[in-house]
Symmetry: C2
Amino acid sequence: MALIVQKYGGSSLADAERIQAVARRIAATQTRGDQVVAVCSAMGDATDDLLALARKIMPHPEGRELDVLLSTGEMVSCALVAMALNAVPCPAVSLTGQQAGIQAGGFFGKGLIAAIEPQRVLKELEAGRVVVVAGFQGVSEDMDVMTLGRGGSDVTAVALAAALKAERCEIYTDVAGIYTADPRVVPEARKLPELDYEEMLELAAYGAKMQPRSIELAELYNVPMLVASSFTDTPGTAIRREVSMEVRERVRGVVYDLNVAKITVQSVPDRPGVAATLFEPLAAAGVSVDTIVQNASIDRTTDLSFTVARTDVRRALEVVKPVAERIHARGVTSNDALGKVSIVGTGMQFAPGYAARMFRTLADAGVNIEMITTSEIRITCIVNEAQVHEAVRTLHRAFRLEASGASK
Amino acid sequence: MALIVQKYGGSSLADAERIQAVARRIAATQTRGDQVVAVCSAMGDATDDLLALARKIMPHPEGRELDVLLSTGEMVSCALVAMALNAVPCPAVSLTGQQAGIQAGGFFGKGLIAAIEPQRVLKELEAGRVVVVAGFQGVSEDMDVMTLGRGGSDVTAVALAAALKAERCEIYTDVAGIYTADPRVVPEARKLPELDYEEMLELAAYGAKMQPRSIELAELYNVPMLVASSFTDTPGTAIRREVSMEVRERVRGVVYDLNVAKITVQSVPDRPGVAATLFEPLAAAGVSVDTIVQNASIDRTTDLSFTVARTDVRRALEVVKPVAERIHARGVTSNDALGKVSIVGTGMQFAPGYAARMFRTLADAGVNIEMITTSEIRITCIVNEAQVHEAVRTLHRAFRLEASGASK
């Protein structure tokens, strides 16, 4: 008998029929002899509807009351899932974040889980019940409801799996798993049977819907995960520390992001402290900077480029232009019609040739590379937005990702 | 500086505009220098909508999960009211039943308040905040949400007023107060400026919307109440132990009920235990019996009549007919086209003549009386349904209730 934590997203719980389908899936797991803790998000658009209601009262509702309001969405879905389970019949009980012992710290609207005291969860499991836990919420030191921010229900599920020493944390969503590339762009994209946490981090951050924080947490506590569809019985993608040896050191997927803009500060004096002078005010203005590239110095000046989300360009330029003048840079240029294409795979840094093959593939396809960055398991090229989809398809073919057990 | 508990019903909170109007009303009370605890019901039809959602999952949802589900309705309205107050600006905080220390016992769906530990409420009041408390809910010994059944938000308000030793509990609703009769039936009906608890109990039970349990609780803890409209600034009706001497021993109002059916068991042997034999199985079948009249015995048999809600007639007859046969009664008849008309006023039992005047008035108007019952402060006649409205109008005129300071 194993303990499984399952997390169901809002689209899996959008109406009474889907809730009943989720209940049957949970009950089937219990019938196989496992204990189940089911973490639920709010139904369909419930959170957006509550947010819209709050904004009719005031444009920027304050955090504490907004958290009370939004937390009701998960209470509703959990109560309904527990009812549907009891109707199967499969004995079940719903618990709020507070009842499940999820203690949160930090700020309203973006709480962080500080600790889990799962006594009540364990008591209910011992009594033979499925425990349905409200995702996305905890209780603060002052005993107030605190929501956990973006991806909060995934974090609830992983944290509960860690605290309960569950065998696995299963994330059920409306996609069947993690693919070698976006199937809408690459029709021959293949679902990956398994990934390690690092690869999943890159794939999630660059296009998939899971937030990095839940994957990082799973890695930290070594919680094996499964990402699968709640609408089908196909196997999904397993995520764990050790993937089989034969699939290591391979390109696992191609990911992209269309929301990219580049800002270049030209002929910046190449002396200590210049980068800080530029990026400190950007951080203060709440602009999140992604890739930063500084070219080699020529005659004691250098071009410094960085990318930001397209929606942040205007704000970033307002901050950067006066700073550029003050440090006597030659000028500031920007391009907001860019995109990002990355190949992802563990061990690429120890196996030369991946980067060269990526650049050659893009060159052969007539795709110009604006910037390049790399991490341990990712090589990213910034290219023209109009060429992003073609670049993804070309790279998917070049690394033969459509074939199982592919590509060196 | 006084502490005032205000309760706002669902129709007063039906949309964002009404919530903002309620916030302005609360803020005005605070501006006058009073501390305010505001108990809120769920918005408009929110509770019915949640119930409909649950019934899509299962026809008879179990109590515990239904209580979790329904309790979210009050959390939503409270969070929105607190936001609207903060926007005024008037510092406010919303509290769930649990956070407000409302401890409930009994059964899910019909919890009873066992105790209130109002430390958090007091702390927030001392910090200068309006405290917005979710009505209709408490927390059980097992730390589960438990709703308080019909009229539960009124009970929350009265119980908090008692626990906090508030100066007054104000019930805001969509009517301007308690009237001498239903204004839809009697156009000249007059709003009563004050009532005592006993009178309010009769008036609430026979037509007004408040449940007797909150009024009984207010009387027990001697909490002065005010029933008023949240849509106007008219004064409402004050309810307290001591009304002014000059309005005592008067008829205060005429109330009616159209949902009445009479069942008569004919020629019942007049011996001990017969009534119990009849009414025990009715209670077991969940049929609530209202008025019971047993005529004087003639030749050792008697006719025994009682009234039930019209919707219970079929079930009551199914229970009564076999019992009547067993005790050798002559037969069972029923009439489900009846209504009830009552005059209400403290001290009527010590002042002869009210009953006679009521019967004479009805006789002059051609209204036949089917049954009569009296309490300390009420005289009730069961009459034909078709004549109920005319009976109410005639009695209102006969006791001159349209005139302020009326009628001996």
